[in-house]
């Protein structure tokens, strides 16, 4: 089989973990060596059906398998959600920029995630936790729609015990029949609870465009330097290689120049989040 830039490598779907009614985590074993840096994305291929971009949620230090947490959103993701394990998949990539973890050394890291946006941040979190003494403090602030929409529920007890990691959670609404020990409000409300020094903190944000917009505005108003706000941009993608044009905003190709950008690089673009 001849290789070319759009040709995926084969992979086996080993296991599917239910997270929420419309989010599942897919444990995938690539049949050829495959590694990525935290923040980079892959194109996951359902052969004969289609492909879509996703950011692995597993640790980049684990190279035999990758985990990807996927929300059911349409054509390809519906097919993926119907899978049980054992199916053949394809993977292209990794593509794009990654989180500059080394530049966070000696700093506080504020991770701000919304919804399935926690997926790429979990990969970052694993990377930070593997070298936790290098950071002054790690704060994970996570917002979801309702308590039922929280992903990785089974991991929080362990994360709660981790030294140097502070966890804050919020839900937009809490239905009366559900228990919730976190905050109720948009994820930005967590920024009022968390204690950090904006001058010494790198903020990493990932979530739906509207969440990133209001989070960025809030971070700026709290005194963050636009160079210290890292955004993982959402875009409609097809090739992942800076060719097909889909992911363009302004002069950037998000797949190649991003998806990780500092807000400083994006601020001249009218409204990069809409």
């Amino acid at each position: 089989m001849k290789k070319h830039i759009y040709r995926p490598i084969e992979a086996l779907l080993e296991r599917v973990i239910d997270e929420t009614p419309n989010i599942k985590t897919f444990v995938i074993k690539p049949l050829e060596p495959f590694s990525f840096k935290t923040g980079q994305f892959v194109e996951l291929v359902v052969p004969g059906v289609g492909e879509a971009p996703f950011t692995p949620s597993s640790s980049p230090l684990k190279t035999d398998k990758i985990e990807i947490t996927i929300m059911k959103a349409g054509f390809v993701t519906d097919r993926l959600h119907a899978m049980k394990g054992g199916e053949k998949l394809g993977i292209r990539g990794p593509y794009g920029t990654s989180y500059p973890v080394e530049s966070f050394h000696g700093k506080e890291v504020l991770i701000l995630g919304g919804g399935v946006g926690l997926a790429p941040l979990r990969s970052l979190l694993y990377t930070l936790l593997s070298d936790v003494s290098k950071f002054t403090k790690i704060i994970l602030a996570y917002g979801s729609k309702t308590p039922g929409d929280v992903v990785y529920k089974y991991l929080f007890p362990e994360w709660n015990k981790t030294r140097g990691l502070e966890i804050l959670k919020s839900v937009d609404v809490c239905p009366v029949d559900m228990d919730w020990e976190g905050e109720v409000g948009l994820v930005t409300c967590l920024l009022d609870k968390a204690k950090f020094d904006p001058q010494k903190t790198a903020a990493v944000v990932c979530g739906p465009p509207v969440m990133m917009k209001f989070s960025t505005m809030k971070l700026i108003s709290l005194g963050f330097d636009p160079k210290d706000i890292y955004l993982s941009m959402e875009a409609n993608m097809s090739c992942g290689l800076g060719k097909c044009g889909h992911c363009q905003i302004g002069e950037y190709f998000i797949c190649k120049d991003g998806p990780v950008f500092t807000y400083d690089k994006l601020k001249h673009i009218g409204d990069p989040f809409v």
Partner: protein
Amino acid sequence: MLDPPNFVYSPRSLAIIFDFFYPPVEPRRLFVPSSLRTARIRMQYFINRQNLSRFLLKVLSARSLFALKEKSADYEWAKFSTDTVEHVVTGRYRAAIPPKMFFFPPSEVLDSPEPFPSAVLGVKSCDIRLLHTSDGIFLGGSAEDDFYKRKRADTLLISADCTDCKDTCFCVKMGLNPWPEKNFDINLSPIAEGFVVECGSNIGEDLVRQSPNLFQKAIDQQTREKEKNRRAVAEKVAAQNSRFDWREPSEIVAASENSTLWKDGSISKTCVECDGCRWVCGSCYCFLLGETQGFWDKTRTWDSCQSAGYARVAGGSNPRREKYQRLRNYYMCKLVYRPKNFGLLACSGCGRCIEVCPGKIDIRESLQKLSGAIPRK
């Protein structure tokens, strides 16, 4: 035509399938593009009509030949054979469809890039600029696109001067002349008795040298005639655009990003979102990858940034929700972002988008309106 039964398209790609002007050329798999070949000091030759046909027969012994065929006031690309080679024309002006589609066809299966030697004759100055812009995309980025590269590099580009222009032509306003100056293998300049020939690459030069009986060194009178013809066409193009006084399209568009003209003014008002301008433009490169049912082979189909769902993401957000934002993006892409990223205006003034637009949107008029919206220096 474009919908072989073994393809599976996502709903979105189904929406963009079109049978617009497809396929005037057969799908083919076509090595270093002529723009990457080194140029030599130019020697000018002369060839008469009959000898040109003989030369093309030689070309045909090693390559497929695609050239222009007259069709009412337009030219279309056609495949020529040893039997029809005498009917090859160089074209008074550019073809209705840009030569991009030889290298980046409207739909193709991406299996394995294979060599396919061919020659394209009748490429115009504006077309060469357009090819150069698509080279930026397909040969640049995070990796080279093997499919485009192979086809492009294995194709001999035989360009030709324009001897007339269409009323939509405005190459001179985009910093070009209506005759090719570089990035071709061989260029033909029609004169009364035949053609003045210039070689723009080693490959072109070698081919001409291999046929010493067909080409003579051009004499002064012939090169003077060529220069005179060239000037006449350039003047005609300039004259028909004399009502436009804008310069520096990049600056105009960049400075008027927030102008109300895009939305409230008449720029986007008559756009019916037919995508016609995108399909005919030789610098547009957007595509969507689809799957074939044969494992791991992909299909690539042209896409258009003018369609509403083009940039919409899974949550429903859309960076260019409104029609005027999409139309503005098309001007920004060609005139601001691509010069920023690739150092080259991605509009050559070929006028194809003007010709095809049912809303009568004329990029020259739009630039005229916008140039009034920004303070003059």
